[in-house]
Amino acid sequence: MSALGFAAGPLDGLRERATWPTARRLALRALFWIGMYAAALAIFGAFVALRHVDPFDLYKSMWTSTLTGSYGPGQVLDRAAPFILAGLAVAVPARAGLVNIGGEGQIVIGATAAGGVALAMGSSGGTVENLVVMGLAAAIAGALWAGLAGVLRLKGKVDEAISTLLLNYVGADVLSYFVYGPWKDPSGNGQPVAKPLTEHQTLPTSGLYTSHIGIYVALVLAAVVGLVLWRTKWGFSLRCVGGNREAARRAGLGVGLLMLSAMLVGGALAGVGGMLQFTALEGQLRPGLGATFGYTAFLASWLARHQPAKVVLAALLLAIIAVAGDSLQLGANLPGATVNVLTAVVLLVVLSYRRTARKAA
């Protein structure tokens, strides 16, 4: 729980592994969820129909633009990478009972740090060197940004849900400060952008459709996070703290340090997510880079009940919706942000209808 008592979510894992559900139950549950997602699609369809857009055409173009086109799948994978990492940035602190709504700021700060390092390195060094150093810088910056909220929580008893939320705006201002000020590209036609990344600072493609290797980085890190949380002492201690802080303290665990470390790890993951988005797709620091990614990832982690493997799936789902949004503008002449409605309806349905965690006695 956060300082003000917000539950970090339904936590399982400490006493999980109930009896396996029967095939019949599984089928019923699958049917139920298919119905729910269909309902979400129907609601969104009704909203667009009000704007005189045929929902069936819309869904067809969303489908083709994301899953079957020559660029769609690659774009989805590229978008999923930062979503996965920022989603893990919510999941890890949540395991320790902390609420991190700061993915937004941690992404931006990560990208900013990577951008600063890129400028400093200029054209020196090879691709691997450049990207590794940029990735490290992003991880450290993201970790510090989230760690700030962690320290405020431990030393100042400031609720981390609120402080991470507030730091999102500060993070955006830090990025703006650099791109409007010291890092502004003089040959950028007056636009507030930093100098473009060099060839050696751009993320290589993965060979999987048109995507970049960021998706591999995200998948590997998701697997590592899953293993660490469930197969190491640190992960176990973390989940103990999340399960019952007082019991963990009496068992002799360093609760404060564990909580802080969860925030640091989370921030580092989100920071790397920002760096991936920046180096794979953006190529230039600009204000608004990665906007709403952090919030989307927060929802992805909730959709996944903070389980790393499911975070990957939820991030992919939300990435499909997000990329479909980009095509709406061209296809149906609707603003791209329209798909936020679909994201929201899916989320609201899931938040409403999953089996609620039993109230702690």
Partner: protein, 297 residues
Amino acid sequence: MLETILVGAVAGGTSILYAALGETISERAGAINVGTEGTMLVGALAAAMVDIETGDPWLGALAGIVAGAALAAVFSVVTILRRGNQLATGLATLFLALGLTSLYGATYVGKDLGGFDDHKIPLLGSIPAVGKILFDHDVLCYLSYLAVPAVWWLLFRSRWGLLIRTAGERPETLLAYGVSPARVRATAVAIGGALAGLGGAQLSLALAQSWSEDMTAGRGFIAVALVIFGGWRPLRVMGGAYLFGAAITLGSVLQVHGVQVNQFFLDALPYLLTIVVLVVLVRRQRQYAPEALGQPL
């Protein structure tokens, strides 16, 4: 210069004040709605749309109230009826608002609307300095002066306020008393949404006098922080809202006067200020926080 900043503080702080008053009511009933940003946004658009279509700003303001309450009702259904998590649901309703306002607002962007102009109040408005700062604004701003004591009275002097505060502290007591805590909390959330919607309406009808996408620009999140900052008390929340209003205005005023201050530092100032205040006033925060805040019923 100070006067200009203070005038701007009141003008810019009013929308935040409404939203924060609304959030105070819903948090007193135990519901933290971080979707307030979205509630303001739908309120702002609904108000602008109705004003543009009918030419009547009062109908517009009413539409803002209704739209805000409606979005808050979605939050209520998920968090109270279905026991969904409040933070995640709040963010989900924010996405709903972002999507809906961009879907239906696209055709209204930048359109002229009548809205509410500033009207100086006779007599009061002629008081030196104070008159200019407090009594030369739009009518929704004047209404907010009345809303603050009204909310205070409602929460701390009315029977119904007692029910609300009980829903936020010890919901089970309400059950024993024979009142449904769910109903009380849902009503409080709806009123909170209505006020946030009115705040949004003030933004589009009076302050900007037009609709633009994402025009709340974080004011709703500030309102949520402000409630904690103000210790869940309407009067302190009012002070905080004007402080934020001042911080928002400060940048442009200083620039006009040729003072070189970094714009982005000023932009970040309100958020940093809130964090500092939360650190300093943390004891009060603990003391005043409704005990069942964020807890499902």
